[in-house]
């Protein structure tokens, strides 16, 4: 199947200017896109025959034929498609030239067929007996056959009529006859040179063959040609403009979903000031997106920058030294030098490389004080002790606390080291490979990837870690020196852009286009996410063992807890409008948390069982300790009661972990807010049934808890003389029993508490006599001096 289109558009002859070629546009545009503008869709067999035929014709060739236009075979070949097309366009344009060239092509084709296939000739002979010469007889019908073949290809377009106009073939036939009798051929001109010339002529669009060699030098041009192809102006004699059917050039696909087109693409290295001489070689007039201009580095003028190799060659060749620097300098020295930042270290600026300090000499990264230049041409570095300089960190991205820590550390390490290598460093052969601008550019690209829409979430661990550290340090210091503001880490925050892809739709068309690009990648799998509902989860849970069930509950509660904890922070950040929703969400979360503690949904009381269950796991204890401050007061009280009530169980379960002490702080805060009656209740719960108190006393946490309660009671009594603690006798009795127990328990089994509240002594002094008081004092090691 002939692809006439490619022949057409590659040829610069007039006959290509044919309206009917437009119909081929759509098809062959894709061909060109795929195979490139230079693709030739030739039948290799024909080529071979042509070439083979050369040998024969060459012998026949007279010298005068070489003056013939080497393009004439081209004419011949090209005239056939207009033959087919111009069957209708002849009606329109009536180009005489076309007919002439038609005949030429037909004739050459005819020759081919003659040479090629006797079967065809035979067929032809059968059809047209009227033709005078047998040889030429075959040509005409075969030619006609070819014509019809070609027209059938084009018959998608109805403009084409399958009628071959009579005059043209006749002409061609005559021409062909004439030529045949001549025996010489433009084929004779088709020596190998002309062939290649022709094939070169099939190269890029509208380029005269002479320019081809130049074209092939810069591949960029071919890209531009490709890109430029669809932009051909529509033919004036055309009905519907087919250029719309050509896909837009990829370089500027618009809103559809591809990333925004930049004048200078992201990956462009920074422009170098010295390469003006090279700029004219780079063609980028229209190609916006295609390629970044490549900057050549090493043809740089001599003094500015040299590769280590050239450097060393210069330095060492006349001196006949070994080309390799004997010292192994630190690889990071370059980076260290580059990162002279807000370092609080009284650092030593690294010496610049000791080459000619040109205008483009090294400059530190963020404009620190310029390092001293060593004005040396030849750097033969002696072998010296390894490098001891402190290494710079890029501290802009660190939390100020972190920065302080680092600098302290560096100071402590670098202070006691000698400085022998100062001069040696200045002769680092690997320096100055990149300008500060380039380093900046590389860093920018890397940092761009780190931009996040929610730095608090993305960088959760780091930020919180240093916040906590700061708080800790503040706490350790005297509270008198408390800072007004705590140092905060400012992170760059990129606005979150919603990238919902909306498929492009042309007005009046059916359906939508889907263009996949970076921002809208194509869907590979049509997977639907089905998350199982909670009910199903519960049913499945029953299959698991109890422990896993507990863990699962704990984890769910944890996620709720974290949300609740972050609520305050987010509340401050979120704009006004969204605060209400946030608040509601917060309430819902807390509600869910509370309900998790209850056994049944409708029951308002805290389920003991549930609490104990949760606290039987280590994680659960931690959870409860963190949860307690967020619970409402009655709930919190209930939880604490539950703890006291079920103390033995808890103590038993905690034997391995020993982490009940986590509960101390939150519980103590709860206790301090208890009313007196509740406090009494609590104490009662703690004492519980027979023997519970002894187990309490055996446990560290238990003792602590006990003390907490007692001290709270004491505080109440001493602060408020009218307090109701003494209204009924319960409190007194309870304290009595406690003291009894304390005295009876052997000292060794008494667990030491986490801390001893100071007012215990005063408490006991109310209830017991002096002797017992002293005993208690000894046992419990309560100091008489109250702090």
């Amino acid at each position: 199947m002939f692809r006439f289109q490619s022949l057409d558009e590659d040829c610069t002859l007039e006959e290509e200017d044919d309206g009917l070629i437009e119909e081929e546009d759509e098809i062959d545009q894709f061909n060109d896109d795929t195979f490139g503008a230079g693709a030739i869709d030739d039948d290799w067999q024909e080529e071979h025959k042509r070439l083979a035929g050369l040998d024969k014709k060459d012998e026949l060739t007279a010298g005068d034929d070489e003056s013939a236009d080497p393009r004439s075979p081209l004419d011949n070949r090209l005239s056939l498609p207009p033959l087919g097309f111009s069957s209708s366009s002849a009606l329109q344009s009536g180009d005489v030239e076309d007919k002439v060239s038609e005949g030429g092509l037909a004739e050459s084709l005819a020759r081919l067929i003659l040479e090629a296939d006797p079967a065809v000739a035979g067929v032809g002979a059968a059809e047209r007996p009227a033709v005078p010469s047998p040889g030429s007889t075959s040509v005409f019908p075969s030619l006609h056959g070819l014509l019809s073949q070609s027209t059938s290809v084009q018959q998608q377009q109805q403009r084409l009529s399958s009628v071959a106009p009579p005059p043209a073939p006749m002409l061609s036939y005559q021409q062909q006859q004439h030529l045949l009798r001549r025996g010489t051929a433009p084929i004779g001109q088709m020596n190998s040179h002309s062939i290649w010339e022709n094939s070169l002529g099939f190269g890029p669009v509208s380029v005269p063959p002479g320019l081809v060699t130049h074209m092939e030098d810069s591949p960029l041009m071919s890209i531009i040609k490709e890109v430029g192809l669809p932009k051909r102006p529509p033919r004036s004699d055309e009905g519907p403009d087919l250029s719309e059917r050509v896909p837009p050039p990829r370089s500027s696909s618009p809103v559809i979903g591809s990333p925004p087109v930049r004048a200078v693409p992201i990956g462009t290295p920074p422009k170098q000031p010295m390469s003006h001489t090279l700029n004219h070689q780079i063609h980028h007039p229209t190609a916006v997106h295609v390629r970044a201009p490549v900057q050549h580095r090493f043809p740089a003028p001599f003094p500015e920058r040299l590769s280590p190799n050239t450097l060393l060659n210069i330095a060492n060749s006349p001196l006949c030294r070994s080309p390799f620097p004997p010292r192994v300098g630190p690889v990071l020295s370059q980076i260290q030098r580059a990162q002279l930042l807000n370092s609080q270290v009284a650092g030593f600026p690294r010496g610049a490389p000791g080459l000619l300090p040109g205008g483009g000499g090294f400059r530190p990264f963020f404009g620190g004080h310029p390092p001293p230049h060593a004005h040396r041409m030849v750097p033969p570095p002696p072998l010296g002790p390894p490098n001891h300089t402190p290494i710079r960190h890029n501290t802009t991205i660190l939390h100020p606390q972190h920065r302080r820590l680092l600098s302290q550390r560096l100071l402590s390490r670098g202070g006691d080291q000698s400085r022998p290598g100062l001069d040696r460093r200045s002769r680092d052969p690997y320096s100055n490979l990149m300008t500060p601008k380039e380093k900046d550019w590389v860093t920018k690209i890397q940092m761009m990837q780190l931009q996040s829409t929610d730095p608090y979430l993305d960088d959760y661990y780091y930020q919180n870690y240093y916040e906590k550290m700061e708080k800790r340090q503040e706490g350790e210091r005297d509270s008198s020196s408390r800072k007004e503001h705590t140092t905060k880490l400012i992170t760059p925050q990129v606005a979150k852009v919603e990238h919902t892809y909306r498929p492009v739709q042309f007005a009046g068309s059916l359906g939508k286009l889907t263009v996949s690009s970076v921002n809208n990648p194509r869907k590979m799998i049509d997977a639907v996410v089905t998350s199982r509902t909670d009910d199903e989860e519960k049913r499945e849970k029953q299959v698991w063992n109890k422990r896993r069930q507990i863990l699962y509950t704990v984890e769910k509660m944890y996620s709720l807890l974290l949300e609740v904890q972050d609520f305050e922070k987010r509340f401050l950040q979120v704009p006004e409008e969204e605060r209400q929703t946030l608040l509601e969400q917060h309430k819902a979360n807390t509600e869910q948390l509370c309900s998790a503690l209850r056994e049944k949904e409708w029951d308002n009381r805290v389920s003991d069982e549930q609490c104990v269950m949760i606290m039987s796991v280590r994680k659960g204890k931690r959870l409860v300790s963190r949860l307690l401050p967020f619970l409402s007061t009655p709930l919190a009280n209930a939880v604490v009661m539950a703890i006291a009530r079920n103390f033995p169980t808890l103590a038993k379960k905690d034997k391995q972990d020993q982490v009940l002490f986590w509960l101390v702080e939150p519980v103590s805060s709860v206790i301090q807010s208890l009313s007196s009656s509740l406090l009494t209740d609590l104490l009662q719960e703690l004492q519980g049934s027979e023997g519970q108190l002894s187990s309490v006393l055996h446990n560290k946490f238990g003792v602590t808890l006990l003390y907490l309660i007692l001290s709270e009671g004491e505080r109440m009594q001493s602060s408020d003389p009218n307090c109701q603690l003494m209204d009924d006798n319960r409190w007194t009795e309870l304290v009595f029993s406690v003291t009894r127990e304390l005295l009876s328990v052997p000292a060794s089994s008494l667990a030491p508490p986490l801390f001893t509240p100071p007012n215990l002594l005063s408490l006991f002094s109310r209830y017991v006599d002096r002797q017992r008081l002293e005993l208690l004092q000894d046992k419990l090691q309560i100091s008489a001096l109250s702090r």
Partner: protein, 99 residues
């Protein structure tokens, strides 16, 4: 949408601390963590090879850059890690992933 944010954040907080990095080729390098990036590439300074110098080619090396993909373990100082915070961060990351 993957966990590197968590680990990156975590390692950032360890910058300046001493760690031991064990590589997949069984080389263990002890050094001070100089920096880390989002691919968990690690730069160590003042390094020494922990095992009895089975790797003599490392004798003269003071600083190194380790590609993240070749790391098997990183041994950390225990007191520099807040496990509770780490747990919370992991839970948050898991929550984010689910959404």
């Amino acid at each position: 949408c993957f966990y590197s944010a968590l680990f990156y954040s975590f390692f950032k907080s360890l910058v300046g601390k001493d760690v031991v990095v064990e590589l997949k080729n069984d080389l263990s390098i002890c050094g001070t963590l100089h920096s880390v990036d989002q691919y968990l590439n690690i730069k160590l300074t003042d390094i020494s090879v922990t095992d009895p110098e089975k790797y003599p080619h490392m004798l003269s090396v003071k600083n190194c850059f380790i590609r993240g993909s070749v790391v098997r373990y990183v041994q950390l100082p225990a007191d520099e890690v807040d496990t509770q915070l780490l747990q919370d961060a992991a839970r948050k990351e898991a929550m984010q992933q689910k959404q």
